[in-house]
C-alpha cells in the first residue's frame, strides 16, 4: 500500500513544509505575546470579564 501510493505521489516534502510553517508560526506568536511594554495591556484585557457596564436604576447588576 505504502509503495503503491508513494510511487504516485511526488510531494513528500510537504511533511517538512508543514513542520517549518508550524514552527515559524509558533515562534512568531510566542515572541509577539512577550513584546515589550505589553504587561499592562494584557492585565487590562484579562479583566474585561469583570466589567459589564454600570447598572442603571439600582437594579440587579447581574454580577
Amino acid at each position: 500500500m505504502k509503495s503503491q501510493v508513494l510511487s504516485n505521489f511526488v510531494w513528500t516534502d510537504l511533511t517538512v513544509l508543514a513542520f517549518i510553517i508550524f514552527l515559524t508560526f509558533f515562534i512568531s506568536v510566542f515572541v509577539w505575546t512577550f513584546r515589550k511594554n505589553s504587561k499592562k495591556f494584557y492585565q487590562d484585557v484579562g479583566n474585561i470579564p469583570f466589567d459589564e457596564g454600570k447598572p442603571l436604576q439600582g437594579g440587579h447588576s447581574n454580577d
Partner: protein
C-alpha cells in the same frame, strides 16, 4: 437597543442584554441533554442485552447510535454552546446581540433541525458518515442556521462597546468559521431523491474528508467553544482574572493551528497514504502542548482557592471539567501513536476516550455553567447546593465506571484479536469469543451511564425549582457604558479605522490558520488522479448491489462493522488480504466504520453461503452462538424498491462510475435477474421463492460482493 445620552455622565449609552434568548437555549440544553443521555443509556443496554433492540427497525442500535451521537453533540452540547456564547459575548462586548430576530431564527431553526434528526435518523434516512449522518435537506438547514448565528455574532462584534476582544470571543470566532467550512465540505453530495444522496467523494478520499471533519468536529464543536466558555466562566465564578492572558493567546493560536492536521490519526494502518498518516500522528502529539497549556491556565486560575472548589458546586464542576479536559487530551495523542493505535483502534478504548471528553469535559462544564448562569438569568439563588453535589458525585462516579469498563473491554478485546499462538494460528479465531468476554463490561458501562443520566435529571429538577421560586419580575436590567467612539484612542481618525478592522483581520488570520493544514493534507489527495491506482479488476457495483449497499447504509451497519482489513498478521489471518485504496473507488459513502462490535466485513464476500447470511440476518444466534447482533425481520418483509434505481445509477455515473447507458436503462431488469439467481440458490436450501422481491436478497447480493474484486478467492496477483 435604545441609545440615550445622559447629561452629566459624558455620553454613556444605555443597553440591556437579551437574556430571554439565553434562557431559551438553557432550557433547550436541559431537555435535549436528558434525551441524548437517555439514548446513550438505552443503546448501552442494547449492547449488553440484544433483546432490547425489540425487533423493530427504528429501535435497533444501528439507527439509534447515530441519533445518540447527533443528539449529544448538536442538540445537547450545541444548545449549551449557544447559551454560554450568547450570555458571555454580550457581557464581554458590553452590548446586546445585534438582532433579536436573528437570535430567534437561530433558536427555532436549530430546534427544528434537531426534531428533523430525531425523525429521520430512526427511519434510516442517513448519509452514514459519522456525526454527519443527516441527509442533504437537513444539512442545508444546518448551514443556513449556522450562518444566521455567525451573521448575528459578527454584527454584534461591530456594535461592541469594549474595544479589546477578550480571548473567549476569539475561540467563538474560530468555532463559527471552522464549523462552517468543515460541515459544508464534508457534506458535499449529489441528491438522488428528497432524502437520499451520494457523497461527491468516494472511498479513501471520502474517508480522509470525513475524519478531517470528524476530528475537527471534536476540535471546533466540543473543544474550542468550551475553551472560550472556560476562559469566561472560570474567572467569573472565582472572581479573579485568568492565570496568564499571554498563555491564553499562545494556547489559542497553537491549538487552532495544530488541531486541523490531526484528523488522519483516525485512519492509521488504513489505505490512506503513509505520509498523511505520519503528519496526522505528528500533529496529534504536538497537540499535547497547547491542550495542556490551556488546562494548566484554567487550573492555575483556581490556585489558592481550592477550599472554595471544595465548597462551591459551580467551581467543583468547572475544575473537574478542566481536569477531564487534561486527561482526555493526554489520552488522545497517546492513542494516535501508531503502535498504541494498532491495539486500541476499533475497540471500546476509543469509546471510553470519547466519553471522558464529552461527559468529563462538556457535560461537567455545561453543568457548572448552568449552575452559574441560571440564578443570574432568573435573578434568584440556586434552589439547592446539596442536589448539585449529588449530581456531581453521581456523574463523576458514573463516568469513572464508564471509562474504566471501556478501558478494560477495549484492551481485553484488542489483545484477544491479535493473539497468535506459536504455530502461527489465531488463539481466538471466532470473533464472537472476544465479544462474549466483554459483555460484563457492557453492563458496567450501562450502569455508569445510568448514574450520569440520574445526575442530569437531578440537575433538571434543581433548575426547575430554582426557576419556579424566582421573582415574578423578569424585566431586563439596564446598563450603561461608553460607546467605542468615545475612547480617546479614536481621536486620531487613522488609528480608529485600523482598530475597527481588527475583528476582520483576526477572522481572516484564524481562517488561514485552519486552512493551511486543510490544504496541505486534503488537496493533494483530492485533486490527484493518480492518487489511487486504478485496478482493472475493480468494477462498480451491480444494480442490485447498489440497492443492497443502500440498505447496509440505512441500517447503520457501519456502527458495528468495519470494512477495512489493516496490514497486520492477526488481521490477515482473521479476515484475509489487507484492504487497498483501489478497492474503494466506487464506495459512496465509504463504510470503514470506527468500531468493531462485530467482525470486519471487507472480505466477507464469498466467505459464507447465501443461506448462512439469510439465517444470520433473521436470527444471528442461529449461526453464531452468543452473538449480540439484533434480528432484522423487516428485511424479510420489506420489498426491494426498484423505482429510484436508474436515478441512483445516473448520479453514480455522473460521479465517475463507468456505467454504460444501456446498463442504466436495463438496471431494473438486471437487478431482478440477479435477485432471481440468488433466490434460486436459496430455494435449494428450502427458502420460499416468493422472497425474491425482499430487501434481504439485495443485502445478500451486496455482502457477497464485498472485497471480492481484488482480494477474494478470484485474486490472481497481489497489487502490493
Amino acid at each position: 437597543m435604545s441609545t440615550a445620552v445622559e447629561k452629566g455622565e459624558s455620553n454613556l449609552e444605555t443597553f440591556s442584554y437579551n437574556d430571554k434568548l439565553t434562557k431559551m437555549f438553557v432550557i433547550a440544553t436541559l431537555i435535549w441533554g436528558a434525551i441524548a443521555l437517555f439514548l446513550g443509556v438505552w443503546i448501552a443496554f442494547q449492547l449488553a442485552s440484544w433483546q432490547l433492540n425489540l425487533d423493530l427497525p427504528w429501535f435497533t442500535f444501528g439507527r439509534l447510535r447515530p441519533l445518540h451521537t447527533n443528539a449529544a453533540i448538536f442538540a445537547f452540547i450545541g444548545n449549551a454552546i449557544f447559551a454560554g456564547v450568547y450570555y458571555s459575548t454580550e457581557r464581554l462586548l458590553k452590548t446586546r446581540m445585534a438582532s433579536d430576530l436573528l437570535g430567534k431564527i437561530h433558536f427555532w431553526g436549530w430546534q427544528l433541525i434537531i426534531v428533523g434528526a430525531a425523525i429521520t435518523l430512526p427511519l434510516g434516512l442517513s448519509s452514514a458518515k459519522e456525526y454527519a449522518e443527516l441527509e442533504w435537506p437537513l444539512d442545508i438547514l444546518v448551514a443556513v442556521i449556522w450562518v444566521t448565528f455567525g451573521v448575528n455574532f459578527f454584527l454584534t462584534l461591530k456594535r461592541r462597546r469594549e474595544r479589546h476582544i477578550y480571548v473567549a470571543i476569539w475561540f467563538y470566532i474560530a468555532t463559527i468559521l471552522t464549523v462552517a467550512v468543515l460541515y459544508v465540505v464534508n457534506n458535499l453530495a449529489i441528491p438522488v431523491s428528497f432524502m437520499k444522496s451520494y457523497s461527491i467523494f468516494a472511498g479513501v478520499q471520502d474517508a480522509l474528508v470525513q475524519w478531517w471533519y470528524g476530528h475537527n468536529a471534536v476540535a471546533f464543536f466540543l473543544t474550542t467553544p468550551f475553551l472560550g466558555l472556560m476562559y469566561y466562566f472560570i474567572p467569573k465564578a472565582i472572581n479573579r482574572p485568568i492565570y496568564s492572558y499571554r498563555l491564553s493567546i499562545i494556547h489559542f493560536w497553537s491549538l487552532i493551528f495544530v488541531y486541523i492536521w490531526a484528523g488522519p490519526h483516525h485512519l492509521l494502518y488504513s489505505a490512506l497514504p503513509e505520509w498523511v498518516q505520519t503528519l496526522g500522528v505528528a500533529f496529534s502529539i504536538a497537540l499535547w502542548a497547547p491542550s495542556w497549556g490551556g488546562m494548566i491556565n484554567g487550573l492555575l486560575t483556581l490556585r489558592g482557592a481550592w477550599d472554595r472548589v471544595r465548597r462551591e458546586p459551580i467551581l467543583k464542576f468547572l475544575a473537574t471539567a478542566v481536569t477531564f479536559y487534561g486527561m482526555a487530551t493526554f489520552e488522545g495523542p497517546l492513542l494516535s501513536i501508531k503502535s498504541v493505535n494498532s491495539l486500541a483502534h476499533f475497540t471500546d478504548w476509543i469509546v471510553g476516550h470519547v466519553h471522558s471528553g464529552t461527559i468529563g469535559w462538556n457535560y461537567m462544564l455545561t453543568s457548572g455553567m448552568i449552575y452559574y448562569m441560571v440564578p443570574k438569568l432568573w435573578k434568584t439563588k440556586l434552589y439547592s447546593d446539596r442536589l448539585a453535589n449529588i449530581q456531581f458525585w453521581s456523574a463523576t462516579v458514573g463516568l469513572l465506571l464508564y471509562i474504566m469498563s471501556m478501558w478494560t473491554a477495549g484492551i481485553t478485546q484488542g489483545l484477544m484479536w491479535r493473539a497468535v499462538d506459536e504455530t502461527g494460528k489465531l488463539v481466538y479465531p471466532n470473533f464472537v469469543e472476544t465479544v462474549v468476554k466483554i459483555v460484563p463490561m457492557y453492563w458496567v458501562r450501562a450502569f455508569g451511564g445510568v448514574l450520569i443520566l440520574f445526575g442530569f435529571v437531578v440537575l433538571i429538577y434543581n433548575i426547575y425549582k430554582t426557576i419556579k421560586l424566582a421573582p415574578k419580575d423578569q424585566s431586563e436590567d439596564v446598563f450603561r457604558a461608553a460607546p467605542l467612539s468615545s475612547n480617546p484612542i479614536d481621536e486620531h481618525g487613522g488609528k480608529h479605522r485600523k482598530l475597527e478592522g481588527i475583528p476582520l483581520v483576526f477572522s481572516v488570520l484564524a481562517l488561514l490558520a485552519i486552512l493551511v493544514g486543510t490544504i496541505i493534507e486534503l488537496v493533494p489527495s483530492l485533486v490527484s488522479n493518480t492518487f489511487v491506482v486504478k485496478d482493472s479488476r475493480v468494477k462498480p457495483y451491480s444494480p442490485l448491489e447498489i440497492i443492497g449497499r443502500d440498505i447496509y447504509v440505512k441500517e447503520g451497519c457501519y456502527t458495528c462493522h468495519s470494512q477495512l482489513v489493516r496490514p497486520m498478521v492477526a488481521e490477515k489471518l482473521r479476515y484475509g488480504k489487507p484492504s487497498s485504496a483501489t478497492e474503494y473507488i466506487y464506495d459512496r459513502p465509504f463504510q470503514w466504520g470506527s468500531r468493531r462490535i462485530g467482525p470486519d466485513l471487507h472480505r466477507v464476500g464469498g466467505k459464507y453461503s447465501h443461506m448462512w447470511h439469510y439465517r444470520h440476518m433473521l436470527n444471528p444466534r442461529e449461526v453464531t452462538t452468543g452473538s449480540i447482533m439484533p434480528n432484522y425481520p423487516w428485511l424479510f418483509r420489506n420489498k426491494i424498491k426498484y423505482s429510484s434505481l436508474s436515478k441512483k445509477m445516473q448520479v453514480l455515473a455522473a460521479l465517475g462510475a463507468p456505467y454504460k447507458t444501456e446498463e442504466i436503462e436495463y438496471s431494473v431488469k438486471n437487478a431482478k435477474e440477479q435477485a432471481n439467481k440468488i433466490t434460486r440458490e436459496l430455494e435449494r436450501d428450502g427458502v420460499d421463492g416468493k422472497m425474491v422481491n425482499k430487501e434481504i436478497i439485495a443485502l445478500i447480493a451486496y455482502l457477497q460482493r464485498l472485497g471480492t474484486d481484488a482480494g477474494g478467492k478470484n485474486e490472481v496477483t497481489s497489487a502490493q
